[in-house]
Symmetry: C2
Subunit: 159 residues, 2 copies
């Protein structure tokens, strides 16, 4: 018998306390975003799954492209706008999108509507991952062991 | 610009042609199960995501436990019965469950109801994975390169 739950209602999972790890001027742009980590509750380590809610005006993240991490989203409620290098795509419940690692094609979801957007997001935890932010003066520096990330400007100066 | 779609309706994705890789006597027990691979359509490689439908009487798989692959399911429609070492748990839409690699706690979903069960399933593709089947006389043998799998009886004799 394990110490993990057998199953649970995703919407009843506890929200992540930490709102955003971006520097403050970027964190405030993300808006009211609630992430409920689900995979962690079952002890999963290879990938993470979150139930994420974007209140009106919120975004999933700054537009970014991962170097090593594949990502996947499935829309449960609401009508987010997906922004990629292909432009804007209106998503609806039942739609999904995948973001392959290493393409450099940045993506994020914007909630421009009057209702909440709720979606499942999956991302693996491949070691040594990093991300690019094509629209913002932002870079990620990793510590030697890959555990700690620091955000700096694209010229390397700190925030 | 990539050759992958930006987004799509999951229910409109093509079903996987191959029904099951189990030996026939086990494959027939799985029943009418439809898997729509989603992650593959976006070129994802680190993990797979399927939209899976279980018609009445169908099961997700034989009850099994992965050695290295974490798994996660999120119920979209219907009322599947989850079977684990903890017994039977009735799942409902909006519920989720995760199956941590290496625990030996076998799991599967049964559709004992009159309506379809539809769920998202996520599994990583960690190399060298294998699986145990606690309820059945079944083992998986892997080829040297880990690419090919062969099902045999627990005493090693072939089907």
């Amino acid at each position: 018998m394990s110490s993990y739950p057998v199953a649970l209602f995703a919407a009843e999972a506890a929200p992540r306390a930490r709102k955003s790890i971006y520097p403050e001027e970027f964190a405030s742009r993300v808006g009211d975003r609630i992430k409920r980590p689900l995979g962690d509750l079952f002890g999963l380590t290879v990938f993470g799954v979150n139930l994420t809610t974007l209140k009106p005006g919120a975004m999933s993240a700054l537009r970014h492209a991962h170097e090593k991490q594949d990502e996947f989203v499935y829309i449960l409620e609401g009508y987010p706008t997906l922004v990629t290098d292909e432009g804007e795509t209106q998503l609806k419940p039942g739609m999904c999108a995948g973001f392959k690692a290493g393409t450099g094609n940045g993506h994020h979801l914007l909630n421009r509507g009057p209702h909440d957007v709720v979606y499942l997001e999956v991302g693996d935890r491949t070691p040594g991952d990093s991300a690019e932010y094509p629209d913002d003066d932002l870079r990620v520096l990793k510590s030697e062991d890959g555990q700690k990330r620091t955000f700096v400007r694209k010229d390397g100066t700190p925030y």
